[in-house]
Subunit: 761 residues, 2 copies
């Protein structure tokens, strides 16, 4: 009994929306089909067994049912009867009674659907079997470029974002660029060291959502996830915007089509990710290394040039001073520059993708990445300072540096191409991460279940689609302008950083037995504190510039997620099996009934169950076959073949039956009654006169009234439905069946059955 | 036998798409609910009786069914059980077993639907009962203004349209205005006299569609209807455009918002007509009389002024000559001016609306109307000539005349207001006529049946809506410019005129016994010939200016109508009852079977029936209850309450049953089999492994394969469907049931049953 209670308690503790304490929900990260059909707990199994016993008492011998089957369910015995043309053939697995659906069985059945299916296949490739999920293990030299594209690409827009604010203060403002850059570099170091601790503590992958929900609780976890989601959307928007700017800096003629190009690139990324391109790790390594080499060379050559002139800064052009150099300006420049840190968390999410020993390799790679990041970032800022480059609208800072350093030519083109490529790759990273966060949220019941579904190319198609749509909306809404997008960016990232580091602090406090917990705690606390400072600074100083959008969206996402979770929790409760024994003691004394109740299952204690029942007063309860009382209702408009077939089907069920006809006038009603008599008046008919010519509402009213007369009955409404060949023909027929179905759906115990009638041609 | 054949033949001859020779389809014009449920022919009744006899042999005593009913179908016996709050209460009519649905039963059941319902009620008023249709009989002095608004209002744009073309030729062109006007006036006379014949021949209303289809055949009738529909759409667009121009001529400040004003006016007309404002005949008379008085006064005062200066034409302003005065220019001017004749047919459609003797009163009114039209048209053109007025973009010709004649003041304002009012009224006339044409088309099976439906305010809501949408599209598409709309106008009107008059010629040739048939024939032939000349002239000379749009749309409408008719004909054939006796002789010798076939009904002759059967090889045939072989399939995803209820419902039907489960992997399949065993393995279960994670396609494939195994079985697929409270929650649940329903719909003998499971809150 205590174990059962504990099981229940545990399942509410873990983030499993279904409420069934599934054994493997704690193994985070890797998507598993278990998420869709959670394992049953011991208590659930007990209830199931108990319910089954009740069924056993009311149903005949299972063998009777089995022998009554007019078909071979295994399909194996009738190979000739199977038409193999349309969807391929079922392959019965040897030794196993299960039937496996072949690839072609996925094709949708309608002709239009089939066309769409073929287009999809050409675009996305054939479906992959679930067993094709093979965890690729990456070498460090492959992991570095693949996982650090997001972080390193930030160098393309981070310094520029900082300078774009400082330049408002003119030459006096620009003087702050080096100190601010130094602070940011220190932060990179601190956060990097902080994430080293996370990697050690979460060798199975410690994304912000997991760390925060594990250590801080459900709501902080959801908040971190919302922050991350905004982060990924912004990563796509900013990377694409910045990448397009890299291109238009080199080819100014393309500038007017920047938005179109950006949207097209997002669509290409969408299709590519729906295809589930995964094995291209090596190909993905190229742009990152190309970019590292490009910026290294740029910085080296630039510094060499500067050294030649004794590190004398070049004069900046005369700048109009539009703002005084205030603390606010400096803080805004700092938060804008902090976007150079985005993506630093990527490695900590992907620890299981490394070769063993995973966490050790991951840590090393993280160290490498932060080092490279520091060099690229610091080098770029220094070079900007020395070369006296100032951001202006038409050309990126990096492009200006490259043009100055190499002159227009091959090297300049190479830098721009590498920049565009790594930014594209960074955007692509978000396409891997965003659906994963949504998957984790959905597994915890905080997002719609459709994000759990792995597409037939083994990618989370719905999450990928959601990201692409959101990114396109943001990108178009801000006209693809990097500088307008930046203020929205920092908020989400640093919110997730803060919660993740705070979670780690709690983690270390809970695990004081681990080695170096004190040192780790200090590192994490420092990282968390710094992240929090950036978060609040960004939120406050950039609020009017766009940060309010990010804050608002994060808030809405969190509210939505909590509401969704509440709904799923209610669902689980409502759908839980409720054996009669819970309710019976109130109606009759135990054992007094004619039927013997099994005693192996102890009756549920009142305190756990009445609570649930009160919550679910409106929920419908368990029913056994013998308890279903039938009344079949056949709304019949004309005595034609479709109507007759509905009547024949209804009568063949052998249950009480009532035919219903709706007439606009008494005269018409009389006439229909005449036809019914001509037919032979074989079945009970009721004619309802509806002078207002409405069809659905009077039927619904009539059926509802019958339901109120006898709420114990299950009313089966049998509707003939004319099925047309072409969609346009649907306009030609009154869509009574779907309308009636929609109208009756809200009533309990009303079952809708549609008998299709197919029109030729 | 011969009678049956003839009955069949007749039903194909008349324009009844249902193929059942309905006795009252020839009584044209008045909408009757019969159209929705046509009367059965003698042959149909015979077949029905025959089918009924077969049922009698396979069903038990009707009394058994009746006594098995667990409810009182008349609802009378359980007055307390009826909850009267939601939809009002059913009122059982005394002495009649029929149940009448009260007004409130019309309210849609969903909360959102109820809000929409209330908005609708406020906007459109409460529903009217079908018995509220009372034919108003109009006095001639009321009929004249109501029915001639369309025709007389043409004076506001007809002359202007003519002049707008002539002015391209400069002063030389304008010289042709009087001769062209004389020809148009002669045409008005000729067409007017022609329609006098129609009124006599069709005292029940002789619209172009009816006259053309009666005398020329189905296709010309449809062509005439298409022409009329375009005419009515253009009437709305042109009248509103011209009315708005009358307003902006007086108040130039409103000119930039002309399109918005026009659309708003169309929307007001839409709502007004959906309300079914009909009793406002007297109110409708005012604008017409006001307009007649205004233009009469204008012409009288203007001519008096001209007389004062000895009828010396005023000099026209210097005009740039943009085109030579060619025959083409003159013809274009003529066809543009002919739009002044539109609406002349209105009285012939509405003969039954007159007081007795209807046709005589209608003829007199027509004569009055043509007289008034001639005076107004002739007077206006003469005044334009004398005053030297020239059309220009910002002010209508009528406004210029009024301003010149009266000066800016009360009289000028009155003329403009009266013009705007009658144009509005003319547009409103189209809202009465267009849905009627669509109704007639739909009754003949040439338009979707939804146009047969009379709204709950007794107006053809769907037709009204269709007209408003089409008119808005045209109006906005041509930016509310009268002169751009005119070229589209003439084509449709004169096509309908031509076909109508041609039909009348055939009519007189067929009815040579009637008085004055020769004279009438000559009048109609003259009118038809002249209309045909205008039609072809307009079609050819204005082709590139926009007439091609009208010709194209008419052509498409005709093709669409014929296609729709073909579809409905196929439907009727497919849905016709087909007693077994037709097919049985091929299988076994008559009388050799164990069951006695009734002999009262002679077996159908092969020549009539085999033909039909060949056409319908794919159609599904008649079935009797005893012949329905059942297999119930329950796709079950989880063993929760919803799944259990579906199983319980399925088992309670007592038919062979197979539960189906879909698993992504073998392991999961094994686990579910375990749960099934825990439950007790009471019913046969089949687990299908779908490694591609698709749900719908493998289920469809499996069920289809079962269908191919045993095509004789009716497969009932029972699906639990989770019903949520709020629409947004629907995203949170996999919509398997609707998707499966859509996918399975195309398969024959597969019945879909949904068991709703309602979530609390």
């Amino acid at each position: 009994m205590i174990r059962m209670e504990a099981g229940r308690g545990r399942s509410s503790d873990t983030d499993n929306g279904s409420g069934n304490g599934s054994a493997d929900t704690s193994a985070a990260g890797a998507p598993s089909p278990d998420a869709l059909l959670p394992r049953l707990s011991d208590r659930d199994l007990k209830i199931l067994r108990y319910v089954g016993r009740e069924w056993g008492q009311v149903l005949e011998d299972p063998e009777v049912w089995r022998s009554a089957l007019p078909v071979d369910p295994n399909l194996g015995g009738y190979p000739d009867a199977v038409s193999p043309k349309r969807f391929g053939r079922f392959v019965p697995l040897t030794g196993l009674p299960a039937v496996e659906a072949e690839e072609e069985a996925e094709a949708p059945p309608s002709p239009l659907g089939r066309v769409g299916h073929h287009v999809r296949r050409v675009l996305l490739g054939p479906p992959l079997a679930g067993t094709a999920i093979a965890v690729e293990r990456m070498r460090k030299l492959v992991a570095l470029p693949v996982l650090s594209a997001d972080a390193l690409s930030s160098v393309a827009y981070g310094p520029e974002a900082m300078l774009a604010v400082l330049v408002l203060g003119g030459a006096a403002g620009l003087r702050y660029s080096l100190p601010i850059a130094a602070v940011i570099a220190f932060m990179m170091l601190a956060v990097g060291v902080s994430y080293r601790q996370t990697i050690r503590a979460y060798p199975h992958g410690g994304g912000s959502y997991i760390v925060a929900s594990d250590n801080l609780g459900r709501v902080p976890g959801v908040v971190a996830a919302a922050g991350l989601m905004i982060d990924y959307i912004m990563t796509v928007a900013v990377s694409i915007a910045s990448g397009v700017e890299a291109i238009t800096s080199a080819l100014p003629a393309l500038a007017p089509s920047a938005v179109v190009i950006g949207v097209a690139v997002i669509v290409v990324l969408l299709v590519g990710n729906l295809r589930g391109v995964r094995q291209a790790g090596a190909a993905f390594a190229a742009p990152t290394y190309a970019f590292i080499i490009a910026v290294f060379t740029l910085v080296a050559v630039g510094l060499a040039d500067a050294a030649a002139r004794g590190f004398q800064p070049m004069p900046t052009p005369r700048l109009p001073v539009t703002e005084g150099v205030t603390l606010l300006l400096v803080l805004r420049a700092f938060t804008s520059g902090s976007t150079a840190m985005t993506g630093i968390e990527a490695i900590s999410n992907a620890v299981p993708a490394f070769r063993p020993t995973e966490w050790r390799n991951a840590r090393t790679t993280l160290t490498w990445m932060v080092t490279v990041l520091l060099i690229l970032f610091g080098g770029t800022v220094a070079l900007v300072h020395l070369d006296g480059v100032v951001p202006h609208g038409n050309e990126t800072v990096l492009s200006q540096l490259a043009r100055r350093t190499f002159g227009p030519g091959v090297m300049y083109g190479y830098v721009q191409a590498a920049t565009a490529a790594i930014l594209l790759l960074a955007a692509n990273t978000a396409f891997n991460d965003f659906p994963r966060v949504l998957f984790l949220l959905a597994r915890g019941g905080h997002a719609p279940r459709l994000f759990l579904r792995v597409g037939d190319r083994l990618s989370f198609s719905n999450g990928i689609l959601a990201l692409a749509l959101a990114a396109i909306a943001i990108f178009v809404g801000f006209a693809g302008n990097t500088q307008s997008l930046i203020p929205l960016y920092a908020v989400g990232v640093f919110l997730a950083f803060t919660l993740s580091q705070a979670g780690m602090v709690v983690h270390w406090l809970r695990h004081r037995d681990q080695a170096h917990w004190r040192k780790s705690l200090v590192f994490n606390a420092t990282g968390g504190l710094l992240s929090a400072i950036v978060f609040f600074t960004a939120g406050i100083t950039k609020f009017t510039e766009g940060a309010w959008v990010a804050v608002l969206v994060i808030g809405l996402l969190v509210l939505l997620a909590l509401r969704i979770r509440r709904h799923y929790d209610l669902c689980t409760q409502a759908l839980a099996l409720r054996p009669h024994v819970i309710e019976l003691p109130r109606q009759s004394a135990p054992g007094s009934g004619p039927r013997v109740r099994p005693t192996a299952m102890p009756p549920m204690t009142a305190d756990t169950e009445t609570e649930e029942l009160e919550e679910l007063e409106e929920a419908e309860s368990e029913e056994y076959p013998e308890e279903v009382g039938h009344l079949v209702i056949v709304p019949i408009a004309r005595l034609d073949l479709a109507g007759m077939r509905a009547l024949a089907y209804a009568a063949s069920l052998g249950q009480p039956l009532l035919a219903l006809h709706l007439s606009p006038t008494e005269t018409e009603a009389e006439r229909f009654r005449g036809y019914w008599a001509t037919w032979g008046d074989h079945l009970p008919l009721e004619v309802v006169v509806s002078p207002h010519r409405a069809i659905v509402a009077p039927l619904v009213h009539y059926i509802e009234t019958l339901h109120h007369q006898r709420p114990d009955l299950t009313l089966t409404v049998i509707l003939p439905e004319i099925v047309v060949r072409h969609w346009w023909q649907r306009v030609l027929h009154n869509q009574t069946a779907p309308r009636l179905r929609r109208a009756l759906r809200r009533l309990p115990k009303i079952v809708i059955t549609t008998i299709p009638f197919h029109l030729p041609r």
